[in-house]
Amino acid sequence: MSPTFQLFDSDMAQLTPDVFGVWETAPSEGAISFAALEEAEEVPVWSVNLSSDAFLAAHELDACLAQVATSRKALTIAESRIDKLVAQTRSQGEVSFSVSAMDLPPAESDLLAALDQIKGGDTVSFGLLDEGQAALGEAQEKFQRVMERVAQALIYYALVETRLESRLVGKTGLTWAADAQTLWASDAPPEYLALHRRTLALTIASRNALMRTFMLTAQGAVKLSALLATPGGAILALPVAWKFINQVMAEVGHYLELRQTQPQGV
């Protein structure tokens, strides 16, 4: 059977089809209310369903862990590309978003175009003014919704489940700060329990990577604000930086996919 890695969270499901190319997002199975809170809120459920062959299941989990690790590396690449773009743009002698003067990858071109829209300058890099503004507005709205969701997710719990061919073997209630309450099946062999620990590691790594994405988005926005030279420019650059980072991560993911599908050797 094919393994499945799912994040049951209705908001995230509307915002993105997957998290780091590992977790397929899906709507929650039902709202859960907290006695301590004024409104019913969802708790994200990170659920994996693996092969009952423990060795194969471990391999599947390791592959996903590697993919999340790759996403972290992609974040570093995105950061350095922002640095390079800022340096390159400034070395033009004056702040200019004239893309024709530079040979840039699509993500960088889109980013400069978005900054241009924000600056409201004369130079329009791509397409019609209306199209540029619409794209900017969409990025901003999406970023706001993701940010709201992350802000909420930080104070709530997550539930992590490991199933082997649909049989539940382990479940953990996890706080953001890693307090954990774990439930084991009393007859589960040790290798199954080890699998659930790997699932936990994958979930924690994914949440951490999500937080790092925000961190680099904020840092990227501060750097990009130097190109805007506008009060509050860093805030305005946040959605733009977010979109850029996600584009770079998708590029890196696609590149690795291609590498994996290429025939090896002669």
């Binding site: 940010m147 802000a151 719990y157 539930l159 539940l168 439930l183 084991w184 937080m211 305005l236």
Partner: protein
Amino acid sequence: MSDEKLYFNGINGASGDYETPPMTAHELAQVALGGKKESQGPDHYAPVYGVDKKDLSQTGWGVIFAQGDDKQTEALKEALQPLLDHRRSQAAKTNETFYREFTGPQAYKPGETKNAFLKRHKVGPGPADPKKMPYYLLVVGDPETVPYMFQYQLDVQYAVGRLHFETPEEYHQYAQNVVLAEQKAALARRATFFGVSNPDDRATQLSAEKLIKPLSASVANPNWTINTLTPEECKKARLASLLNNAAETPSLLFTASHGMGFPNGDSRQFKHQGALLCQDWPGPKGHKGRIPEDFYFSADDINSSTNLLGMLAFFFACYGCGTPKLDDYSLQQTGERPEIAPHAFLANLPRKMLTQGALAVVGHVERAWGTSFVWDTAGPQLAAFESTLKELMDGLPIGSATEYFNSRYSEISTMVSELIETGQTYPDQLNEQELAGMWTANNDSRSYVVIGDPAVRLPFVEGGAAPQRPSLEAVVASAPKAASSVSSASFVVAPSVAPAEAPVDVTGDVNYGLSDSVKQVQANVQDLVNKLTETLKQVMDDVTSLEVRTYVSDDLTGVKYDYTAREFNGAKLRAMTRISLDGDTLNCVPDRGGRVDTDLWQIHLSMVQQAQASRAEMLKTAMSLLGSLKAL
């Protein structure tokens, strides 16, 4: 052997307890006896014969950067350019070599000792000779890159200060402030002494009685207005008024209080460690648990419109100027030096004061000790404090005025060496009380540092002229105007802002050509950033212990998870571990047939280890995220 306890300065902001519990002389002596001998210091702490310490063209002035990132060094130099140009014009007036910039291969090498650094520059021990090495030396860099120990040791013979800010704008602001103060400020000769005496707290009662009171009396001078506040007046609101209200701001401020300490990695540690605990704290009996911000004065309490131009301050408080990464006191006792902070750092309050116009702040790194000013049965010993303040009041630069602490450090260091040698050779002759006191005094006197340019001094009004405290010129980073091969952040000086003026509202009347829709987005996203920041802070504040529980059930489908109580209903709780921030650990171990169920215990332990590693990683990321959000 005396059972009298020695009390140490410093309050833990998370627990509300003393940072260092009181201990007897015997206990402290045991710590010292394991210590290494301190090397003997020289007797003379000044430049060579004939040099006027007020004249930089005679003393020389230098700035020391760290090797590593040349681009960053260039950016820092650019940010500090106004100060560097100003000092060059003073120090190199008659001899160009009296102005030095230690950059590139000449800069401080990672891990270098003071001796190695000086030797590399062809300088050996002895009085500072400006022909070889300037007397005034400004270290630029954080205390992880250029360690505190380097600063302490270099400061023994030279007049050393340090700068480290988070942004180039802050460096530029400070550089600008110093030049403005030296060229245009003329302050009234007014000093304020702020001495807290918290109820049932021996440390601050001692400092109020034996330091503040006699010290303020001893520096009385007909040319100066000395304002000594009573302890009851030394509340946070009063300190806020002294600093934020230009009419009250003195040119010289001396405080004595506890300094706030927080557990390693606490969310408030970088922000508030070293903050001054005011009279608002009702003492150890009047308040238990976490110390609220209402009780202490931190960088957050300085307004962005505050003008401290020309001021010098001296804080007697634990961590008042900084915190090292490793505990300075545990090595001898336990063989280990536990981490007290994720990394060494400068305190935020003095740095904030510097960006708001203060020229320098003298204070303590690590914990401060009462032996600074009370010497056993000899009673109050204020000579170092008194001499330093008098020199400042006479207009001497702060780096040279604090030489009295350096010479005290060296003197005590030789006495500690002698006692340790005696203790090791003739154990029955060892006077533990004397060793304990000497050891703490040595540690204490070593750790006074100057944050700021060591060559700054109070800019007094002369003759019958009216005092002047010019408005600060705010610094705004702008895009570069011309291509340059160097990192080309240039700094635009905004129009002067009078102290009472409110900060500019970027969404208000200032027209930068932003459309209404963009402004709305900006406001929405700013709200979200603020909310996320507060959420992060709240979550991190609530992280006081780590708890891991292991449940077992024969039928998992029948088990429900209660999110509020954080437990599984319908399953059996078999093991639990709770680890508090202070390291206290509670373990509930599973049993099977009257014996420990070792298999399940091993599984549980692996979960605990995973949780510990995860928490550390998440906290690290969260702190970085918080820092990034605050930079927006």
